[in-house]
Amino acid sequence: MHGSGIQIWFFIGVLLLVYGVLILGYGTFELATGSYPVGVQLTNLHTPIWWGGLMTALGVLYCVKFRPGRA
């Protein structure tokens, strides 16, 4: 969208960042304690860590690139 104000990409960045941090944090806890959810498959791949990490990285990128007030 044109004009001043917050762009949709910034909102997306914030959401990805919050979700990424939450999921990465849980993945780290899971890895540290070794307690994995019952019934979930492929826990050995540590999906929350790499997926949460990816979301965090994308979130940071979008938040910085589309931050309000950036020319």
């Binding site: 969208m1 044109h2 004009g3 104000g5 917050i6 949709i8 909102f11 997306i12 914030v14 959401l15 990805l16 919050v18 979700y19 939450l22 999921i23 849980y26 993945g27 899971e30 994995y36 959810p37 019934g39 979930v40 498959q41 492929l42 826990t43 791949l45 999906t47 929350p48 997926w51 949460g52 979301m55």
Partner: protein, 622 residues
């Protein structure tokens, strides 16, 4: 958004409504605190966007057309996202389980050519005429009667579909998570009303783009992990052939030479003419729900580029929808490790709770005789826990996603439902205000008055939607007709718009009559087949054609009838002078010159690339 639903949903059999409400089973999943936080963050974000955009939706142009300042990317993503609701995701994943890769036709030939045609050929007319809606274009081209017919039918559909969407979400949440219906309905209705009434179309578009990202973020892990577990594409193929005894599940065209030789029971001519031309072009180029998103673009080039950008994303959607359906054919297991066999929705309805139809319904499934007997005896074993095809996606999510990620997956489904509702309601609000209220009730209101009417129509529209949802829920059989209703208008609308846009001789009475007779004939064919099943041999050219095939052929006939009526009536009625058709008809319009851009930014370059990828994909999965 229901325009391209799989037949199991479009005909109402997905309908979670009456029967499903009456049984109680343990929910598929239990959310952790982290999952709840993930869902709450989404609701918080949606409301934040609504309040933030409130100050930028004060004029009618801002409220109904998002100020016509969306970039091609935002309009393009919103364009695709408006069609990517959760019912579609779940329904097509279920269809892939039933029909294999044939279901991909609805994403490729059933979308890509039409999206590119909209961008390259039709968009200039919608955009140059500065119409606010598709019925608005009909008014400019054919006059008031055609507009009112299209507007009233469209507004009615939007309200009904919004209600159906709301209840569908509530029941899916009940089945998957055990949430109460009232809780889901109240929360989703309040959130949607708030953000659309506050921010108008701009808010709906923002949330659709957000939803698009969420759907990919929440659903992409399922095919990635599923492919890993099944040993890649070759491993998946080998196991499906072993389980199903045929390789038809991997061929889109090879087995469509005869109705009986493919799992979907359709013929290539129906796919090409009915789906690839009439249904697809009707939906993607004339359904105001999706066209409205592109009309909000900030200039003609962006408006033309938006559907082209959308086409690339549309081609990728089968990866998160069709692939999970195929993977579930080999990966889903019961709690004892045996292979889980999903059944049609009708079987779940007939057997849970037990009814006299259960035995007959079970015979149509692939469940073993022993399991069928156990179900009839109401014996509780891992194999007798029945799940329908349409539950493929939640079942796969529960299989792979732990705390946090499951919340993300569920949020993607909720976002899809809410976005679908918001799309219905925002399109309803525009059509109600511009095409019904303004011409019929108050022609001389101020701009702020129409914005107020738009906001109020959202509140009233949601309230009626809830009532419509309850009506559908409590009246067996109505669901079939409600959803079929939607399909009745697509083909005739396409016929009348194409004739108006590309034949300058088409007259106003012909446009109205063609549309009316096309709708009546479509309804007539539906009712005819409903009461006399033998009519299927005439309507769908094959007595044992599936509902899916019947829909495709009915659309083709309705389109043809509309075009013929418009042609014949135009010959005996007076046409508009050519000067009055500027901006409305292809041969009478000088399109504005677009600004010069380098070759790599030109619309036709990207459209050509999309066509090449589309052709390559079809050949690859021939």
């Amino acid at each position: 958004m229901f325009g391209l639903l799989p037949v199991s949903i479009a005909a109402g059999s997905f309908s979670p409504l009456p029967a499903l409400l009456s049984f109680s089973v343990a929910p598929m999943a239990h959310l952790s605190l982290l999952d709840m936080v993930v869902i709450a963050v989404y609701f918080g974000m949606v409301i934040w966007i609504g309040f933030y955009l409130k100050g930028r939706s004060n004029t009618s142009e801002e409220f109904f057309m998002a100020g016509r300042e969306m970039t091609a990317w935002i309009a393009g993503l919103s364009f695709v996202s408006a069609n990517l609701g959760s019912l579609e995701l779940m329904g097509w994943a279920g269809s892939a389980y039933q029909y294999g890769i044939l279901a991909t036709h609805w994403y490729w030939i059933g979308a890509i050519p039409a999206m590119l045609f909209l961008g390259l050929v039709m968009m200039p007319f919608y955009y140059v005429s500065k119409t606010h809606s598709v019925p608005g274009y009909l008014f400019l081209r054919y006059g008031e009667h055609a507009r009112i017919l299209a507007a009233v039918s469209f507004a009615m559909e939007m309200i009904l579909m919004s209600g159906v969407n709301m209840f569908a979400m509530a029941v899916v949440m009940k089945i998957v998570l055990g949430w109460s219906l009232t809780f889901s309905i109240v929360v989703s209705a309040c959130a949607v009303t708030l953000y659309v009434a506050l921010g108008g179309l701009r808010s709906a578009i923002f949330n659709e783009v957000l939803q698009f990202v969420l759907i990919w973020g929440g659903a992409l892990l399922v095919p990635i992990l599923g492919l890993y577990q099944s040993g890649g594409v070759s491993g998946l193929k080998t196991q499906i052939i072993k389980n199903m005894g045929t390789d038809s599940y991997f061929h889109m065209w090879r087995d469509t030479g005869h109705f009986a030789s493919n799992p979907m029971g359709t013929h290539w001519s129906g796919i090409v003419l009915g789906l690839g031309f009439v249904i697809s072009f009707g939906y993607w180029t004339t359904d105001f729900l999706v066209v409205q998103r592109v009309l909000a673009a900030h200039n003609l080039r962006a408006a033309r580029m938006a559907p082209v950008i959308g086409s690339f994303f549309k081609m990728a959607v089968p990866f998160i929808v069709i692939l999970p359906g195929l993977l579930s054919l080999v990966l889903l297991q019961n709690s004892d490790g045996s292979r889980r066999q999903l059944v049609p929705e009708d079987t779940v309805k007939a057997c849970m709770p037990m009814s006299s139809d259960c035995a007959a319904s079970l015979k149509k499934t692939l469940l073993t005789a022993q399991v069928q007997q156990d179900v009839l005896n109401q014996k509780v074993t891992p194999q007798t826990e029945l799940h329908s095809y349409n539950e493929v996606l939640p079942l796969m999510m529960v299989r792979y996603l732990g705390p946090g990620l499951l919340g993300l997956g569920i949020t993607a489904l909720i976002a899809g439902f809410m976005s679908g509702m918001a799309g219905n309601i925002s399109a309803f609000s525009t059509v109600w205000t511009y095409d019904i209220y303004k011409p019929l009730i108050n022609k001389k209101g101020s701009d702020s008055h129409y914005v107020l009417v738009g906001r109020l129509s959202i509140l009233i529209g949601v309230a009626i939607s809830i009532g419509a949802g309850y009506l559908v829920q409590n009246a067996h059989g109505i669901m079939d007709y409600v959803q079929a209703l939607f399909s009745f208008f697509i083909a005739p609308l396409l016929g009348s718009i194409l004739m108006g846009m590309f034949w300058k001789r088409a007259t106003a009475p012909a446009g109205f009559l063609g549309l009316l007779i096309g709708i009546i004939s479509s309804v007539g064919m539906f009712v005819w087949v409903k009461f006399d099943h033998a009519a299927l041999g005439i309507v769908a050219l094959y007595p044992n054609a599936t509902d899916m095939a019947a829909n495709l052929y009915r659309a083709w006939w309705a389109f043809s009838i509309t075009v013929i009526v418009i042609f014949l009536v135009s010959l005996v009625t007076r046409a508009k002078p050519v000067a009055e058709l500027d901006g409305l008809c292809y041969s009478c319009t000088v399109l504005p010159k677009e600004e010069w851009v380098p070759w790599y930014k030109r619309v036709w370059v990207w459209a050509l690339l999309a066509i090449c990828i589309f052709a390559a994909l079809n050949i690859m999965f021939w």
